[in-house]
């Protein structure tokens, strides 16, 4: 459990079974760090398979993909129909100050990150 506005454990099953997300994570090994205000969660992968969801601090250097934003940014991004420029991670980064690291993996796994946002948004708005 976490005191964050979003708990990745709540979508663990989706992370493993959603056909699009599972496909787009193919071959990925390493950590994805997601920081919501001061809450840090990370998804640990090995060759495209989710190994663990961690709810503790992890350094950016240990992660291939890092996304950080305050609570307000995430609430706006998770809205069912976000206001202009909160429509996805990248637009929120460019126009509203969300942090995304610049790495090969961040760009290569952008299809997966987009799908992850869809799954998060769906759950946040009362979906399964």
């Amino acid at each position: 459990m976490t005191d964050s506005i979003f708990d990745f454990n709540s979508i663990e099953n989706k992370l493993n079974t959603d056909p699009e997300f599972a496909r787009e994570m193919r071959y990925f090994s390493g950590n994805i760090k997601i920081e919501i205000e001061t809450n840090v969660q990370s998804l640990s992968y090995d060759n495209g398979k989710l190994i663990e969801i961690k709810n503790n601090s992890i350094s950016d250097e240990e992660c291939k993909i890092v996304i950080k934003g305050n609570k307000d940014l995430w609430i706006n991004m998770l809205a069912e129909k976000p206001k202009p420029f909160y429509q996805c991670l990248q637009s929120t980064a460019v126009k509203h100050g969300l942090y995304m690291n610049v790495s090969n993996e961040t760009f290569a796994y952008l299809p997966a990150l987009n799908r992850l946002m869809q799954l998060m948004r769906h759950k946040y708005n009362g979906g399964n």
Partner: protein
């Protein structure tokens, strides 16, 4: 019963600066010629809904072309294009519709384009007002948003022309330009067209979109909308050319008309054509009445 779209396509050979290009275009309708230009890294398929819309094609001969290196327009045969980095320039952007119009013997067509095609609408109105009766900039501005311009071509190539990143990511990146009000089928189709692009072409197109297109307020103030009327439409969800950016152009171009568009992003013509059409039809009606 066989179902067809009312679209006919063919190839034309265009000579631009001594190079022969085999250019694909497709058309539908009859009446006032309407040349339509696609966005960076995509192709003329973006106009498939417009070309099938009798509310437009009853009075306009709509011609959608694929720039070389895009869609069904291959790189120029006989030129060692693989030995040089692809970059789209303002001159080439203007040359292709100009020469296509001349070869098809069009009578002062209307030009409409979105994204880099939208920027081009402003460049054509500024540089070739005698050759077009009107231009329509969809997501156009004097310059693209500063946050993106500041990334630089090296940053652009790292994201969009990177051997470690496949072209599915170029499609995924377009999510930032798409409105959350657009139907998922249309969002995915828009992204698909980007995933189909040639290697390095989207990044190279951005050379024009972010850098070679740079209209000063002084140049913009001289655009003669009595000769070539300039219409501008911009979606509220477009971070690359926001309504604020387009408004800056509208503020300095005498006589132009600008309308922000609700619930639309950077690709109005393909991401939500029915919503876009509400803004387009009054413009076409005005052009028709002149």
């Amino acid at each position: 019963m066989v179902k067809h779209d009312p679209i006919k396509g063919q190839y034309i050979y265009l000579n631009v600066d001594g190079t022969e290009y085999r250019v694909y275009y497709e058309e539908a309708g009859s009446g006032i010629p309407l040349l339509v230009g696609h966005t960076a890294g995509s192709d003329g398929r973006q106009y498939r809904h417009l070309l099938c819309d009798s509310d437009v094609t009853d009075n306009f001969r709509c011609i959608a072309f694929d720039l070389p290196f895009h869609g069904k327009s291959l790189p120029p045969y006989g030129k060692k294009w693989w030995a040089e980095e692809y970059n789209m320039t303002k001159k080439l952007m203007m040359d292709f519709p100009n020469i296509l119009s001349k070869e098809l013997e069009l009578d002062r067509p209307v030009y409409m384009g979105q994204s880099m095609g939208g920027h081009l609408a402003i460049d054509l109105a500024s540089n070739y007002p005698d050759d077009y009766r009107a231009t329509i900039a969809v997501e156009g501005a004097l310059r693209s948003a500063a946050e993106y311009v500041e990334v630089g071509m090296s940053g652009i190539r790292f994201e969009f022309d990177n051997p470690n990143v496949n072209r599915a990511s170029t499609g995924a990146a377009m999510m930032l330009n798409l409105s959350p009000h657009s139907a998922e089928e249309d969002v995915r189709e828009t992204q698909w067209m980007y995933m189909c692009g040639g290697p390095g072409v989207f990044a190279g197109d951005l050379f024009y979109y972010y850098y070679d297109h740079n209209v000063t307020p002084e140049e913009a103030s001289k655009i003669d909308t009595n000769k070539c009327m300039l219409y501008m439409l911009t979606g509220e969800y477009d971070p690359n050319t926001s309504p604020v950016d387009t408004q800056k152009a509208a503020d300095v171009i005498p006589g132009c008309k600008f309308e922000p568009m609700e619930k639309l992003g950077h690709f109005p013509i393909i991401e939500n054509y029915q919503q876009f059409k509400k803004y387009l039809l009054p413009i076409l009606e005005e052009i028709k009445s002149k």
